[in-house]
Amino acid sequence: MSAMKLCFHYILHVADSIHNTGPCWSTWQFPMERTCGMLQPFTKSRLHPYKNLTNHVYLLELYNSLYYYRKIHEQIFPPIPHKEYKEHLVYTNQNYEEEFQWPSKPYILNISEIKKIKNHLSVINDVALRMKLSVCIIFILS
């Protein structure tokens, strides 16, 4: 008898509950738990936790409303400069909106490295041309 906990009884009402308020995902607690998880780190004060929490949420909302005041917003959060990629470093497919960007970093090769690359690429010459490494090759010739 002690196995008939209330939760086993509630099983019988799940179907009615779905009938009344729609599929389970529309009423389950996952989003609520997520919100609680977001609010938790806000409470730092041990003496006035609720006051602390309200102040934090209020402050956060003030920051959010800054979006509507362009000038101030840009002063506080300067826009991140958009990195420009050369065409051959970006891969896209016409079916996708997203693009893959080649991880790139400016780097200056020393002479022995250039030699090695040149030796390697001389076998497949047209690839070297396409990859715009010809600049380096010219450099070495001079």
């Binding site: 008898m1 002690s2 196995a3 008939m4 906990k5 209330l6 939760c7 086993f8 009884h9 509630y10 099983i11 019988l12 009402h13 799940v14 179907a15 009615d16 509950s17 779905i18 009938h19 009344n20 308020t21 599929p23 389970c24 995902w25 009423t27 389950w28 607690q29 996952f30 738990e33």
Partner: protein, 261 residues
């Protein structure tokens, strides 16, 4: 009375339990699990009116002192209130009733995350692990798997970790070691993905069958859109699982009786 959807009366035995079929030594109504005495919005309203007829504590005290014999009256009203509360299963008026569109049990649906994932899955696991009851003689049941088998299951879950696509959520953790720290999402994938294949050939077939009703129902509950047919299916599957579980319980009661002799 604790169910907000129906008038099922619980049975007190150190804790309140809610069987639809009471054990033979307790006098309580027998309920039909497929046709429970549902509470409606109107029931709630009339019951709240009933409660509101009883004057609140402060006026009660004033009234009692007016009448002279203070103590008797206070006791009388308090007793009347408790009796009514016990009888109708409502303690007072909720402010939410002021909102016209609130329909009483219907607007407060069951959260399957807490019910299915974090309670039933855990309780069933405890049954199978043989740790559900404090009384260890009751835990000795045909469906209990021993520690070696659980270690095997855990190891298999751990081994499958790397080959589970990220689409299926978190990779499985060893359920035997970590079930206390399991998140709702992990319980959900334990129920719908891992439990059946891992328990098959380990649990006796009839227990697997009973559990599979529940698994199927949970899978349906997770669907984005549900047809009317799906709803019926969920209702039937959960009813079947409930009956299956009730049958577990009957074996416990038999066990209890035999262990007394």
């Amino acid at each position: 009375m604790a169910c907000r959807y129906c008038d099922l009366r619980g049975i007190y035995n150190n804790h309140v339990y809610y069987p639809t079929t009471p054990p033979s030594n307790v006098i309580n109504e027998t309920y039909n699990p497929s046709n429970l005495p549902k509470r409606t919005h109107r029931d709630y309203k009339t019951r709240i009116e009933q409660i509101e007829k009883i004057p609140p504590l402060r006026t009660r005290n004033a009234l009692a002192s007016d009448l002279g014999n203070n103590l008797i009256n206070i006791v009388f009203f308090a007793a009347k209130l408790t009796i009514i509360i016990l009888k109708i299963g409502i303690t007072g008026r909720s402010v939410l009733l002021d909102i016209k569109t609130t329909q009483f049990p219907a607007c407060f649906p069951i959260d399957i995350m807490h019910l299915f994932y974090e309670n039933i899955a855990l309780y069933m696991l405890k049954h199978w692990m043989g740790s559900f009851f404090k009384d260890s003689t009751l835990n000795d049941q045909p469906y209990v798997l021993n520690n070696r088998q659980w270690n095997e299951i855990g190891a298999e879950m751990e081994a499958a970790k790397k080959s589970i696509p990220t689409d299926l959520g978190r990779p499985p953790r060893n359920i035997f070691l970590h079930y206390n720290g399991y998140k709702a999402e992990e319980w959900s994938s334990w129920i719908t993905l891992y439990s059946l294949p891992l328990l098959k050939d380990r649990l006796p077939a009839k227990y697997i069958k009973g559990w599979s009703y529940f698994v199927k129902a949970v899978q349906l509950c997770q669907k984005r859109t549900l047809s009317l047919h799906n709803q019926c299916e969920i209702r039937n599957l959960l009813l079947r699982f409930y009956k299956h579980y009730e049958w577990y319980v009957i074996t416990f009661i038999l066990f209890e009786i035999f262990s007394v002799f």
